[in-house]
């Protein structure tokens, strides 16, 4: 092999691998990405049943209902609206009424959000950032200046 051929081989292989990676990334971007919506966004953006997304907000106080077979039904709310969520399984330790929560899943035809994942957090004072942003945008969120600073890793 001449120098030129060697160089071309190297460039060719690098190009191939990069093209493969680029193709994979672009394809995956279309297919595997999940949007985040607050309950009010669902109507505003007309989210269709069956589309996977993350729903975030506060767990409405008094809405948590435990049924048979570990089914839990609760409402996730922001300032403007609330959405019924149904989840089967074991909830994370820090799931509480009045606290921030993020659930992943899709709407069923009747408009109930069927979650297959409910996100847990390590920290009891932690508010998921998306939820905090939504509430702040809707003028509901106050930074808790006087509250004691909580644990950071």
């Amino acid at each position: 092999m001449t120098r030129k051929q060697r160089r071309l081989t190297l460039i060719g292989i690098s190009g191939l691998i990069l093209a493969l990676a680029l193709g994979l990334v672009l394809y995956a971007m279309n297919d595997t990405i999940v949007f985040f919506h607050s309950p009010a966004d669902i109507e505003a953006k007309n989210v269709q049943p069956g589309t996977r997304f993350r729903l975030g907000g506060l767990v409405k106080t008094g809405s948590v209902e435990r049924k048979d077979n570990q089914v839990v039904v609760f409402e996730v709310m922001d300032v403007q609206s609330a959405r019924m969520v149904r989840y089967q399984g074991i909830l994370p330790d820090l799931f509480r009424e009045g606290q921030g929560v993020i659930a992943e899943g899709a709407l069923d035809p009747s408009g109930v959000f069927r979650a297959d994942t409910v996100l847990a957090k390590h920290d009891e004072s932690y508010m998921p950032r998306e939820v905090a942003d939504t509430l702040r945008r809707q003028g509901h969120w106050k930074e808790q200046k006087d509250a004691p600073q909580q644990a950071k890793r």
């Binding site: 160089r7 691998i17 394809y27 995956a28 971007m29 297919d31 998306e130 950071k152």
Partner: protein, 660 residues
């Protein structure tokens, strides 16, 4: 008093670091050995100061000095001693102090070790190291002072986040930080080479142990963190493709590429500019990791409440160092003498392929981790990029790399022979293919990828052990001869073989998870839940109290095909001081597999929720990682790296590129 002294020591360290930065850099420029020799002395002094500061904080924690805000927020007088100690780095300020401690410790080791490091290279390296130290000392002194007092002094602390009260988390951050920060040395050496405008195989030989050490620690740190998440979070997952995890995976991937490219540089004096770039990139990714974890810009299952002002400071450090080093690279790299090109089919050709795959895979992780941030900044749209994205993009890039790995390891330097290599791997390929086919037949109807993955893992193990066999065994030789030859192989060879076999084990462990069984149910005492061929019976649920938490303990009786295997306990805990609940998974290890149980809430009818998993061969994931790290350590202890470079190191001349 000691607290103020600790604070003062940090300020002193800052002043000394400024000297360590400016004087040797100038000395190297004007070629003054006296000025250059300031570097090792100040590096040791800075380490001494930071060490004292760390000790001061440690004493405040151990003696539960609640006049210090940091101790109040993260400690409690009834906490066990080990968590009082680990509490030092179980919070933002303390963990940054640990970061700097490790950084300066590495600087001190460079200052002390390896007299064969040319004085100019050493001076420049320590100066760059000092620049990093200055930035982080400023960060800690301005935004995150761990020595802040609180008036009036509370009588009791707020306790450490219960999830962090765990032996795994006591050692995970130090291991991870040694890995992250270890790459700062490689970075400093790379910048020094750029400043000097010279680089050769000797440079690679000096840098390689540092890279290996950092890589081995990072491997341990990631494995430890993954195992901690597995048993502590109670969902039975061991890797979530979470931003915080990705933040440690990216430097690991780049570091793995670096470990391999320095071999090419050392043996063949090629890939020089690439290696420099990779050194800079790896440490940049380490800094990015620190930023992502510390700033809280990403939503993560591992994130803790954070202060955005600090994020901006770290972002500033990030931009300064990444931008600065890349500018230095763009300016000086053309001065470096290029190495020669080489045949595509050769060991070095295979290592280039390794680097291409690893850096590309790293890039996809990078895109997946940062794309949500970029999109939100540009359009305000919030998205989440989760496991499906990474599985889809990362795996197709890593699997081919793993497939060609044994070939690369078997190929000769300079001019390889693909046919001969394939013949030498014939046994390994045949055996792993046979096992894969047998597994497919046995588990017909189950997940298809699992047997393929296990087969790949076996191929990796056999393929890497093949090197030992071919180098020590020949027809008719006695076992004693084989043994003598095998043990006489260089430690770096054994290190390579073990590290690669370790990946094989990890791959088998990961692939076998496709066969894991999950079941969820609600049980009353006496009730039975099945996971695969295993079943558990709930014996009892009893309350129990320890000095800093209360818990409900469920005793589960595990049996397999009617044979009793024993009892495992799983707990739902409530840490009293913070009123925070945690789930303590109950794990029973059966060989390399595990039965994993975690409790849910008490249901309306009085039964208790239970999540049960059977996870076959799951321990291999971490055993493989441990073996990988051990392989790195073994390579590190190779005589070649300890003895140092021959005499040409003193003159530090550029070697001519090898003839084609």
């Amino acid at each position: 008093m000691i607290v103020e002294a600790g604070h003062f020591a940090l300020a002193l360290a800052l002043g000394l670091s400024l000297v360590q930065f400016a004087v040797p850099l100038w000395g190297a420029r004007v070629n003054d050995p006296v000025l250059m020799n300031v570097a090792p002395t100040t590096a040791l002094a800075v380490f001494g100061c930071v060490g004292f500061a760390f000790l001061a904080l440690l004493i405040a924690y151990v003696s539960s000095d609640f006049s210090v805000l940091n101790v109040v927020e993260n400690s409690h007088s009834t906490k066990p001693l080990i968590y009082k100690i680990s509490g030092v780095w179980g919070n933002h300020e303390g963990s940054m102090l640990l970061w700097i401690l490790i950084l300066t410790a590495f600087g001190a080791v460079v200052a002390l070790a390896r007299r064969s490091v040319p004085i100019k290279l050493k001076a420049n390296t320590l100066a760059v190291q000092a620049a990093v130290t200055i930035a982080f000392l400023l960060f800690i002194l301005i935004t995150s002072n761990p020595f802040k007092r609180v008036v009036p002094m509370p009588s009791e602390g707020q306790d450490l986040n219960p999830l962090l009260q765990d032996p795994g988390l006591a050692i995970h951050p130090p291991l991870l930080y040694v890995g992250y920060v270890g790459f700062s040395i490689t970075f400093a050496f790379a910048c020094a080479a750029l400043i000097d405008g010279r680089i050769d195989a000797v440079w690679a030989r000096i840098v390689r142990p540092w890279t290996l050490a950092a890589w081995a620690f990072l491997t341990l740190g990631i494995a430890m963190g993954s195992y901690w998440a597995y048993y502590e979070l109670g969902w039975g997952g061991w890797w979530f493709w979470d931003p915080v995890e990705n933040a440690s995976l990216m430097p690991w991937l780049a570091g793995t590429a670096l470990v391999h490219s320095t071999v090419v540089m050392e043996k063949r004096n090629a890939l020089k500019v690439w290696t420099i770039l990779l050194s800079i990139l790896t440490f940049s990714l380490s800094l990015l990791g620190t930023f992502l974890v510390r700033s809280g810009v990403l939503t993560s299952v591992h994130s803790f409440a954070v202060d955005p002002a600090r994020g901006i400071f770290i972002l500033g450090i990030l931009i300064a160092f990444i931008g600065g080093s890349f500018a230095l690279f763009a300016w000086r790299a053309p001065l470096l003498q290029q190495g020669g090109l080489f045949a595509p089919v050769s060991r070095e050709g295979a290592l280039v392929l390794n680097n291409l795959f690893l850096t590309t895979a790293c890039a996809t992780v990078f895109i997946g981790t940062l794309y949500p941030l970029a999109l939100e900044a540009l359009t305000g749209e919030k998205i989440s990029v989760g496991a499906p994205f990474f599985n889809f993009t990362f795996l197709p890039l890593i699997v081919p790399l793993l497939l060609i790995l044994p070939f690369g390891q078997t190929l000769a330097w300079k001019r390889g022979n693909l046919l001969g290599t394939t013949q030498r791997l014939f046994v390994a390929m045949g055996l792993s293919l046979a096992i894969t086919l047998a597994l497919i037949a046995l588990t017909f109807g189950g997940p298809v990828l699992a047997p393929l993955g296990v087969g790949l893992g076996i191929f990796l193990i056999l393929g890497s052990l093949n090197e030992v066999v071919t180098r020590s065994w020949s027809k008719g030789s006695s076992w004693a001869v084989v043994w003598r030859k095998a043990t006489a192989l260089p430690r770096s060879t054994w290190g390579t073989v073990l590290a690669h076999a370790g990946i094989g084990l990890t791959v088998i462990g990961i692939a076998a998870q496709a066969w894991s069984v999950e079941s969820i149910g609600a049980l009353k005492p006496g009730g039975v839940l099945k996971a695969g061929s295993y079943q558990v019976r709930l014996e009892s649920v009893k309350p129990r109290a320890a000095f800093n938490y209360r818990e409900d303990v469920a005793s589960l009786n595990v049996s397999h095909d009617g044979r009793e295997l024993g009892t495992l306990e799983t707990m739902k805990r409530l840490y009293v001081t913070r009123g925070m609940p945690t789930t303590e998974a109950g794990i029973m290890t059966i060989g390399l597999s595990q039965i994993y149980a975690s409790l849910g809430e008490v249901q309306a009818d009085g039964s208790i929720g239970l999540r049960l998993y059977y996870k076959p061969l799951v321990l291999l994931i971490w055993i493989g990682s441990l073996i990988m790290a051990f392989g790195g350590a073994l390579s590190l202890s190779d005589r070649r790296l300890r003895v140092g470079a021959p005499s040409r190191a003193q003159t530090f001349q550029t070697l001519p590129a090898p003839a084609e």
